[in-house]
Amino acid sequence: MAGAISLHLTQAHAERYENNPATRESAWVKWTIIGISLTFFTLFLLLPLIVVFYEGLRKGWDAYVAALVEPDALSAVRLTLTAALIAVPLNLVFGVAAAWAIAKFDFPGKSFLITLIDLPFSVSPVVAGLIYVLIFGRTSWLGPWFIDHDMKVVFAVPGIVLATIFVTFPFVARELIPLMEAQGKDEEEASTVLGASGWQTFWHVTIPNVKWGLLYGVILCNARAMGEFGAVSVVSGHIRGETNTMPLHIEIIYSEYKFAAAFAVASLLAILALLTLVIKSFIEWRAGLAAKEEVESSA
């Protein structure tokens, strides 16, 4: 749902429209549209981002650092990293397997399968959390078995990991499927005909071809894994220092009116978001470069 890598056109492209009498609007129309767009952009995107850092640093640098190194905050950071470190690789392997099956082979029910893979994107995060409470909770079918074996899933770390896997499930697959479909299977077939094994073909032909799309899916998956709130909130049980991820920790200290501390932790996640966008822009720039080279070499 986050969209495949888009090749954004360069500045020169927009100028082509602006210099063409058939495709340009009068200056006042142009600047009115830009003005409205930028006002909307500032109100909804720029100011919320700035306010996070402003509020976080409001009580000074020392208070900012203190909010981050507090034991509960550190444990929240650790849990968030743990959940992402488990969820992202699992969904990466799944995404590659799904893309291989869907893009390189024909079988009935393919588009239905793609729809099913997308399903977690359209389910409310709260419902995503609820399903694991229904399965593993105290009153569930599996609940008694887990209690007998002294294992806690819901209101414990495993539940948080499961909910994180669910909400980030489609990210890698979504990026890879269209990319691998577009590349077809000629190169892989050539490789196997020349005697390479399946795994050799996969590692030396397929993976290098999709590496940027793969990275793109992984960073989006990671951003969501570290930032998920609704689903994790349902399964967490909110035990301080134990089952609070960073977003949950933010909620708790915010509800205690420790606003500056809440925004300090929030600013870490905002930095993560900005980093994600920077890497994303870099990948799009690389993909654009590669596409340009291809056009030039075929011309």
Partner: protein, 275 residues
């Protein structure tokens, strides 16, 4: 299954895909329907039509529709600016459009609340004018506009980029003025993508929780969203009640998913691209 295919790994990859999909998504989701079946039809109906829950549907769907509509208008203008015009800072604007995808919803929630509360940067300007945003349904709308914004921009932008200049030149040389060209040539081509963006934005808004609860104020009958009703049932250990409401939300999600898939197929057909 016929595979006159030289490539190996079909059984392994498809088998793994189906197993993982079933374990993580399909079986857990079916738990909702199985649990909901423990309720009689009457009990189910009482839960999902109780006044407080109905009030939450009205807010959730109403605000989601309004947010998607606002995004359709401003998202289109933003996409148009990004594709057609040069202006300073364009690259930064283009990258930051995806912020709502990358920024955790809880962070967005507290940031929007800080901005629009009575003592916030924007709240302190609009509140003296009699417009209260934070802790009202208007706050819910605002949060939903934030999280839905990239969907419209990112579905319209590529279609706009692919539009052939020649078509506009032809319209112009045939005597159409700029407004006629936009309305009768460009807009019909963009429309399926715009509608898809609208639907994606709406679908995301309906299920949204994190960014909304901080700014909503969560006043019963006034500013409670439906996902919050599920949470509040869970907090009272009313698992069946929570499941009943979740069933309604899941059915809505499925319907929206199918609608969006058909819309995307239509967009692909209209723009002559198979995806």
């Amino acid at each position: 299954m016929s595979n006159r295919n030289a490539l190996p790994g079909f059984n392994l990859s498809l088998g793994y895909t189906l197993t993982w999909l079933s374990l993580i998504v399909l079986i857990p989701l079916s738990a909702v329907f199985i649990k909901a079946a423990e309720l009689s039809l009457e009990q189910f109906w009482v839960v999902v039509t109780s006044p407080r829950v109905v009030a939450s549907y009205k807010l959730t769907f109403g605000a989601s529709l309004a947010a998607a509509a606002i995004n359709a208008v401003f998202g289109l203008l933003l996409a148009w600016s990004l594709v057609r015009y040069t202006f300073p800072g364009k690259k930064i604007v283009d990258s930051l459009v995806d912020l709502p995808f990358a920024l955790p919803t809880a962070v967005a929630g507290i940031a929007l609340t800080a901005l629009w509360a009575g003592n916030g940067w924007i709240g302190s300007i609009v509140e003296p004018l009699g417009i209260k945003v934070a802790f009202t349904p208007l706050g819910v709308l605002l949060a939903l506009v934030f999280i839905g914004l990239p969907f419209v921009v990112r579905t319209v932008q590529p279609v706009l980029e692919d539009l052939e200049v020649e078509i506009e030149e032809a319209a112009s040389s045939l005597g159409a003025n700029r407004w006629q060209t936009i309305r009768q040539v460009i807009f019909p081509t963009l429309f399926p993508a715009l509608l898809t963006g609208f639907a994606l934005s709406f679908a995301r808004a309906v299920g949204e929780y994190g960014s909304v609860i901080f700014i909503a104020g969560n006043i019963p009958m006034v500013s409670e969203i439906t996902p919050l009703m599920i949470i509040s049932k869970l907090e009272q250990y009313d698992y069946r009640g929570a499941t009943a409401i979740a069933t309604v939300m899941l059915v809505v999600s499925f319907v929206l998913l199918i609608a969006i898939n058909s819309l995307q197929a239509w967009t692909a057909k209209r723009t002559g691209k198979s995806k």
